[in-house]
Structures are given as C-alpha cells and as structure tokens.
Amino acid sequence: MLHPKKYVPFLLFISFCLFLGYSVFIPSKNNPKSLVLKSVSLPNVFGGDLVNITSFEDFYLIHVFATWSPLCEMELETIKKIAQHKVSVVGIAYKENPRDVLNFITKKGNPYSRIGASTNGSIGVELGVSGPPETLVMKQNKVIYRFKGPVLESDIKQIILPLKNKGEKA
C-alpha cells in the first residue's frame, strides 16, 4: 500500500490544476460595472440631423462596427437575425467614412434601426469599446452585457433573448 506521503503532493498538484482550470473554463462575467449612458448623439450616416444613439427603446443593442473589419462583415448576417427577433440594433460606424458605410449597407442590406458615424472613433472610449466589432446590450440606457468581438448565432438564444425576456418580467 502507498504511504500517504507519497500521494499527498500529487493530490495537491491535481487540486491546484483543477483550481486553475476552473478559472479558465468558467467564463468570467465581462460586465464589470454597469455603465449608464447619458444621451449620445452622432452624425447620421444617411445625412441630415444628428442621430440619437441612446434613449432609444427599453431594450436595444448598440453595435460598434466598421466595414474595414472582416469580422464585422461576417457578423452582419447575425445582426440581421437579431433584428428579426424584434430587437432594435443601433449601429455605430467606427473610424470610417460614412460613404463607405452607405455602400456597405446598400450592397449587403441594413439591419440597423439607426446608424451614427464616429469618424475619429472618439465615441469608442466613451462607450468603453476597445475595437470593432463590439456589441453592447442596453436596458434602460444601462450597459447590461458586452460582446467583445463578434456576436455568434448561438448567443442570440443563449444570451440576448434571455436578457430581453428577463427585463420584461421585472
């Protein structure tokens, strides 16, 4: 029979590995502090007056995208699917020419309720965005969830719709 001293270090090692694995495989909440946005207006991509990004609806998404980002191009199909679930998506064209955005959406379709343009990208820091694509889930102008990187199709059912329905019950 093995002496306890022989396998105690091994058990310690295994439990330490499990502890480290736990922090790797359990997704951390990427919602450090709920940020409340005051009214934010940006130049309208379609021209004309400023477009209001916040105070939009009770539940909506803010999608920070750029046509020069290939991930955003891929993500557009997912955004269209989100819009089909009666969720308003406000687009923010990040660091680019409004004309490029117009070309982009006339070619590929426009799932957005409104699109504001931030040519110099200064809105990014205001929203706590690190780069496109990033999607903020908004509830009464409060950021309740943040997708850094593209939203996956599975996220609609697993994250976005539950967040929406949870809000309706409360």
Binding site: P32, K33, K95, G121, V125, E126, G128, S130, G131
Partner: protein, 126 residues
C-alpha cells in the same frame, strides 16, 4: 572676441532647454498611462502600447486632465467603462485577495518544504 564667441556658443547650446515648453498635463498623462493597461494588448500599459485604442484613451486622458479633472476622476471614468482590465494593479478586494496572497503563500509553502527537507537530511546524516 573669444569671450563673445564662448558666450554665444553656450547660449545657443542652452537654448533648447529654455525653449522646451514643459507641458504639465503631458507629463501627467504619461505617468497616468503608465499605470493603466491597454484593453487589447494584455500586459502592456497604455503608454507602451501602439494600438489605436491606447492612443485614443491617452488623448482622452490628456483632454480630461487639461480641462481640470483630477486623476481620480479620470481613472473612475475609465474604470466604469473598461473595468479591472484597465488597471495595471487592481485593488485588493474580496475576490482578488487570493490572487494577491498567492505569491506569499507560495513562498511560505516552498520555504516550509525546504525546511522539512533540510531537517530530514540533518537527521539522516547524524
């Protein structure tokens, strides 16, 4: 004439020092961005990072500082938006306590192991 030349030379050499406009806020921005982390390149401070977002944040820090906001206000603003990820050293809290204590625990544990090991060897040799 030689004296005149010397004076002229020294003045010209000192000129860059006088003309360098010391911007207090530039220096403050540098110090602050050395203590804040770039949100996309892990392990680099805003100051070291070459990413566009790091430049954007530094620009914002400069604007806020020069418009009279305190460093704490700027840090709070960024913390509200980027969370712990923006801080080079997140504070000691309930959920970060173990993280901070871990090196000390490791050192104590290793020290204890060495102590046991040496004691055992002493016993064996005597």
């Amino acid at each position: 004439m030689n004296v005149f030349k010397t004076i002229l030379l020294v003045t010209l050499l000192l000129l860059p020092n006088f003309s360098r406009a010391e911007n207090v806020y530039e220096e403050k921005t540098r110090l602050l961005s050395q203590h804040l982390r770039c949100p996309i390149c892990n392990g680099q401070s805003l100051w070291e990072s070459q990413s566009p977002i790091a430049f954007d944040i530094q620009k914002l820090i400069y604007q806020k500082l020069s418009s009279g906001q305190s460093e704490k206000e700027v840090i709070d603003f960024l913390y509200e938006r980027y969370g712990d990820a923006i801080l080079m050293a997140p504070g000691v809290r309930k959920d970060t306590f173990f993280l901070w204590m871990f090196p000390i625990l490791l050192l104590l544990g290793a020290g204890f192991a060495v102590y046991i090991f040496i004691k055992k060897q002493d016993k064996n040799s005597s």
